[in-house]
Symmetry: C2
DNA sequence: ACGGTTGTCGTAAACGTTTTCCGTAAACGT
DNA sequence: ACGTTTACGGAAAACGTTTACGACAACCGT
């Protein structure tokens, strides 16, 4: 592994000049620069990241915290991967690297996040699965560490960029659609705990029911982990009530798959005996039979946009007008299929 | 952000002593150490990672390269996440951090991998989705960079730790089982390109067919991307042959879902009109109806074990007997369900 | 001929650690 | 009382960069 010193010695030139040549600064002779570039290629030189980071006081990297849902083993992976693809692509355009940090399951103190922040692994972090009250956001704002979130939260005020999907509107639309198709007993399955998107979804669900003059029956609202098991376990309870629903809205596709399995085991055919609607579809809804009607987020553009928003909020990357805090809420697109 | 100097100044002590106290070295007075520890907590000190890495010449991190399948946008995410959970847990026990590096789609030159290696982002890398001839492995062995692979390859000899699943055996078992149930026309759907596990699976498939005295019909072997679309596109071709199969073995669950959708659209019921078997099931097989018979890998233990193997191969982490190159092949467990 | 500008490059400090080497003082053995 | 060991901690070098500063020469205009 050759260092900048080797390069300088080899060219009989000072390391300062080598560094300037490599970093494309103006005050170096064109011919000298070319010699340096050639030698760098020949000696297979590439700068040591630690040395560079230490000197710059910055890492030029952004960390995405891939944290499991508390109490659960799931990471919501099929959702995040396209999102991360967009995030990474957009960050790369500004010369930033994306690293994904896996939080250990059951990391209630957000120890990994603290580690990233305290040891300056990255210059900024991106959070997902925001909760209604989110200690991570409190921590980051208090530490003055740059970050952006996928999802809103009540914590931290409006001091950070946040990009969210309009779960409330999707909840309203889902109910409207089912009511228009003649349903009166509509159930909702949301995540356990206080994930904010579950809260928003349920708010929309309630609002729409009331607007249609329908009662909000607590027996028709179920909660479970955001995975197949969660949907599988709650669905029989919903269907077992004295006045069972004729339609169920699941908060995401994994839950819906589990719910449909439970329905089948009860001798009910999803989409025929019970209508099924899914709020967040990653990829699965289309492959079930019957294909499930769902609301689909544009994940890759979401990632790109959040990168832009994060950068716009960071003084060192913001444009000439200075840093700006951008907050946006994007619609969820309805994909009508065969299950309702 | 306080540095070790602040700490030293605050305690009227040299930075060397502070460092020694923090790192638990023996030659520091117990009382002094306690004072340092207390002050560190009070001043909210934590060591700067760049400075530490620079000095040590090591990062104490392992990078997992999450690379999309060439020509495809998929990362195989539901497969990798549990694997990564195990990997991270085991690495953490040796004080190593795991970072996941996203390769950009279409990164044919493995530019991200080079970047990780050349700038020493991590002390070692973990590769997955090994190909039969794998340039990444050639590159890493030639560069003398520590690595381990999930999956075998013909490249690089036996000079690196590799942990793989026994796809060949699974291919044999799948055919045996279908033959025992009366099938004679058995199709196989494998990934396109030369991913090694597809090769192994097909080898087992062929071997078993021959052992049963059945012909290996090229019309019954299909290839596609390892995702829903891949299975969806190839299945009609398979079923459209003059003498269509009565059973299909898919190389993974995503392909199988796509294939089943195609079957349904052709008016065929999976598990009834056509038997379906899946070699690599991540989570989906159980939720389809009928639930798909599949071979299931133990992903989380796989990750843990590969971490052990990687560490055992690195001189700085190996035990007293010195570094060892371990290679293992693990069985895939059959989960019999309702689709065959 | 002389001050001022411009272009090019070398020197050295700085980033925050860890670790080697040494110095001091106390404790010990004879 | 003397030399030897032990325990502790300070000084400073080193890791590989980037960059502020200054040096020097060449060129310009007057």
């Amino acid at each position: 592994m050759s260092s900048i010193h080797d390069l300088a010695r080899h060219l009989n030139i000072s390391i300062g000049t080598v560094s300037r040549a490599l970093n494309g600064r103006a005050d170096v002779n064109a011919e000298t620069r070319q010699r340096v570039l050639d030698a760098a290629r020949r000696l297979n030189y590439s700068p040591n990241q630690s040395g560079r980071n230490l000197r710059r006081g910055a890492t030029h990297a952004v960390a995405f915290m891939l944290q499991p849902h508390p109490g659960d083993q799931q990471y919501g992976e099929p959702f995040f991967i396209p999102f991360l693809t967009g995030l990474q692509a957009q960050l790369a355009e500004s010369g930033l690297d994306l690293i994904v940090v896996m939080g250990a399951p059951g990391d209630y103190q957000h120890e990994r996040l603290r580690r990233v922040v305290e040891t300056r692994w990255a210059d900024a972090v991106v959070l997902a699965w925001t909760r209604r009250e989110d200690e991570r956001i409190e921590y980051l704002t208090q530490a003055g560490f740059p970050f952006a979130t996928l999802g809103r939260s009540r914590s931290g005020g409006k001091s950070y960029p946040a990009l969210d999907l309009d779960f409330e509107k999707a909840g309203v639309d889902a109910v409207d659609r089912l009511v228009a198709r003649g349903h009166r007993r509509i159930a909702a399955v949301r995540p356990s705990l206080n994930l904010n998107f579950g809260y928003l979804f349920l708010a929309g669900y309630r609002k729409a029911l009331r607007r249609h003059g329908l009662e909000v029956d607590p027996d028709l609202i179920g909660a479970g982990f955001i995975n197949e098991a969660g949907g599988y376990e709650i669905t029989p309870q919903l269907m077992g009530s004295s006045n069972p629903p004729t339609a169920i809205i699941f908060n995401n596709d994994a839950m819906a798959l589990g719910g449909c399995r439970a329905l089948v085991e009860m001798g009910l055919k999803p989409g025929h005996d019970v209508a099924v609607t899914v709020i967040v579809d990653t990829a699965l809804c289309r492959y079930y039979s019957p294909a499930l009607t769902s609301f689909r987020p544009a994940l890759e553009p979401l990632g790109r946009r959040l990168a832009e928003m994060l950068l716009a909020s960071m003084p060192s990357f913001a444009g000439p007008d200075g840093p700006r805090i951008i907050r946006e809420v994007w619609p969820l697109e309805l994909v009508a299929r065969d299950s309702d």
